[in-house]
Amino acid sequence: MNEQDKTSMERKEEPRPAERTREEMEFVPDADIYETDKELVLVADMPGVDRQSVDVDLSAGVLTITGRARDRKLEDGYACTGREFRSGNFSRSFTLGEEIDSSAIEASMSRGVLRVRLPKAVPASRRIAVKEG
């Protein structure tokens, strides 16, 4: 592996609990997360991933996004002479601090960017005023 290949692959690495069985590349997508009064919004770059190949999963307070990149290869007759990025899958997980209404999560994919809207759940517990007495 030459030096250039190494730098391009080092770019996105996240500690994982266990190895995958398949030996394929997995990258951590760059992400923005912002919060409004009503929702949490996650925006992640997944170039080369189409709408059908993306998964959004929320379980036990952990949001996981995965995207499977299409095998992109120019047609036969082309040989790669310079490589700065590799194709592979994208995966990233976040522990959510907020209670999310999981039935109302919306996700959309446009131009290789995933957007997930996570509406906050209406709190089930009520704050109790403590009286003096």
Partner: protein
Amino acid sequence: MALWNLAWDWDPWATLRTAARTQAFPPVNVYESGEAYGIEAEVPGVAPEDLELTVEGNVVTIAGQRRPDEVRGAFHRRERLAGRFARSLRFPVQLDSSHVEAQCVDGMLTARIAKAPEARARRIAVKSV
């Protein structure tokens, strides 16, 4: 990532965070055949109308801008940069700017640029004597 215009949001940690990544945006893979060069560039979130591909002599330039999202709220994290970018690739042979095909699908720009006629590979028939 020096090519990004950081006018929208100054983030002093961006350089550190992206230090291990490729330096230029967008990252590009280059392919070659006998008649043409192929390039692939990762441009997630860039609208086709904001993307400009120019071929001049032996230089291909990919320029454009990624517009920031309209955000009404507070950021928990911000890793995706927005702004203008430009990148030029110099090829060893002259290119034929009238034979260029480019498309952008799912944030991935793919272009095929023909080599100038005199630079194309020609197969020479070997005679037997």
